[in-house]
Point group: C2
Chain length 334, copies 2
């Protein structure tokens, strides 16, 4: 017999209150609202990114991974703005009373993520829904006043940097759907790596000081490299050499097996939660070496030029075409 949580009170008391214990403004989740103190000389940075079963994760993903991703995608927005995580609100819309084992693992995943990201549960709401499981998180962080890193303030001449590697999550999604995808020539550890990149995005929080110091603009790549690069570039353009885009060994492994899929994932695949940052020429070197000290790899992929488009150049100097240009949340297309 599957044991389920008995009541809303039990769910909150047993599984959620421990996540809020260390945050006094959460009042043990027993109040109508949370109370946050923003230190003098700081501002609050707020982002809301919900995840829904069947859209952003699979219903049978491990609950620890679902919890991690739900918090990580919000932390990624804070990271892009140079903000230090503080607390988050959690709304759970549950299709049925959750199984005790499921919610226990889910709470453990949140606990692990909280510790990794340095934040606490501050409040929220639990409710039944006729729809699929939905996890709504609003994350709050702080920045020193005047250091918020905007998205649309890049200028011509700025160097564009990208963190980590591109396309892994989209390839991991294909493998999460069907582990045998890409056929027998793809190594088993490459499959594991890519699936993990899909399930466990790593918000680049350690980069926040480098961004604050040197970046003129930044955003996280949630909807695909080209789509988010276009957002960063604004009215400017950029020429990017495809071969210079950072790709993991596993993605290069896919490239050997199915070039079109790899190109597509690198240019248009969402879910990597890497960062794109624009850095003025004079600070480009300092940014790169500052970032290197955080343990996060950053790659200079080109310079913003006024009044041009975005061009991706292939090995032979020809333009590379990506079938998909990114994720539209309303269309739900990938």
């Amino acid at each position: 017999v599957t044991k389920r949580v008995e009541s809303e009170g039990d769910l909150i008391e047993t599984y959620l209150v421990p996540l809020a214990k260390a945050f006094s403004g959460a009042f043990d989740l027993q109040d109508d609202a949370a109370l946050l103190t923003v230190p003098a000389g700081h501002d609050l940075v707020v982002t809301s990114d919900p995840v829904v079963s069947g859209v952003h994760f699979f219903a049978d993903d491990r609950p620890e991974d679902i919890a991690w991703k739900a918090l990580a995608v919000n932390m990624s927005d804070l990271a892009a703005k140079g903000a230090k995580p503080l607390a988050y609100m959690l709304t759970l819309a549950l299709p049925e009373a959750p199984e005790v084992d499921w919610i226990k693992s889910f709470a453990a995943g949140l606990e692990e993520a909280q510790q990794a990201f340095g934040c606490h549960l501050a409040g929220g709401d639990t409710d039944r829904t006729p729809g699929p499981l939905a996890i709504g998180i609003t994350a709050m962080g702080i920045v020193k006043t005047g250091t918020f890193v905007k998205r649309r303030s890049a200028e011509a001449g700025d160097h564009v940097f990208v963190t980590g590697t591109l396309g892994d999550a989209a390839l991991g999604l294909a493998l999460r759907r069907d582990r045998s995808h890409f056929g027998p020539r793809l190594a088993d550890d490459a499959r594991d790596f890519l699936i993990r990149r899909y399930l466990r995005p790593e918000p680049r929080l350690a980069l926040r000081h480098s961004l604050q110091r040197y970046a003129s603009a930044a955003l996280d790549i949630s909807d695909g490299f080209l789509k988010d690069l276009r957002r960063l570039a604004g009215t400017n353009g950029i020429e990017v050499v495809f071969a210079e885009l950072p790709a993991s060994n596993a993605a290069q492994n896919v490239m050997d097996v199915n070039q079109a899929a790899a190109i597509d994932a690198i240019l248009g695949g969402g879910g990597d939660y890497e960062l794109l940052a624009a850095v003025p020429e004079r600070s480009a070197e300092a940014f790169a070496s500052d970032a290197a000290r955080t343990g996060i790899e950053v790659k200079d992929i080109g310079v913003l030029r006024p009044h041009t488009g975005i061009m991706v150049v292939g090995d032979t100097g020809t333009a590379v075409e990506a079938k998909r240009s990114g994720y539209d949340h309303l269309e739900g297309q990938r």
Copy 2:
């Protein structure tokens, strides 16, 4: 032919950006996160209360009313804490691209509610969902440091006040389901009044100064009077005379027609979003007259006594029983 919104970009640009125009930290909804400045000497109060189609509202409610309620239920939490509204995050989970007429009216409802409550859209997210329409709002307000009104800090001897009238929303819900409910003896304008009370809760924001000054504890009645009174009372008890509980003329009209339904709604019906406040004996009179000046009626319904239960006394001195004791969000029962 029904005209639908074409893309996520169109939805945001055309209907949501205007709601964020006056709030500079919203960056026209073109950034990853919102930036909020908390004035010196103040703290931030945060609450997250989503509403879901088929749970908190009907799919065919007027979109203006859906929008109003979505924001109002969050503002009610801020009101109970003595907070002044500042901004809110909005996440829309849409089962399909919304009809242009629908989203236009929805945005108009948000605009009306923003103006009534004094806050702005600061950010959020739009996404497709395989489930029903869900509107996630996280509301943020401010309080002077040290004036946050907690829920669990009432003490024995405190007077308990309730705002407005009780049970209207639950009766309105029954009438929203079936306008002919309660039969021909219920007047038409009573039906209209009760349905409106269900559709358009009025957060008691004007009471915040009175609460800050005099209340030892407060919360909003979202889950039913008895359930929320129990939360306010904590380890204390209270004897309440049923006939002294504030009821609207419309609810008294229902009482004449169907006494059991009216008692049930007054004691256990959720959705009124009135406030319960505990006020120390020495301040009870001052609170009542201060509140009266805000135009919000408050009623002193009894005094908290240590180590007793909660008792509702009927006309003949006997205890009144409510069939339902309030709303459990996990059970989904009313």
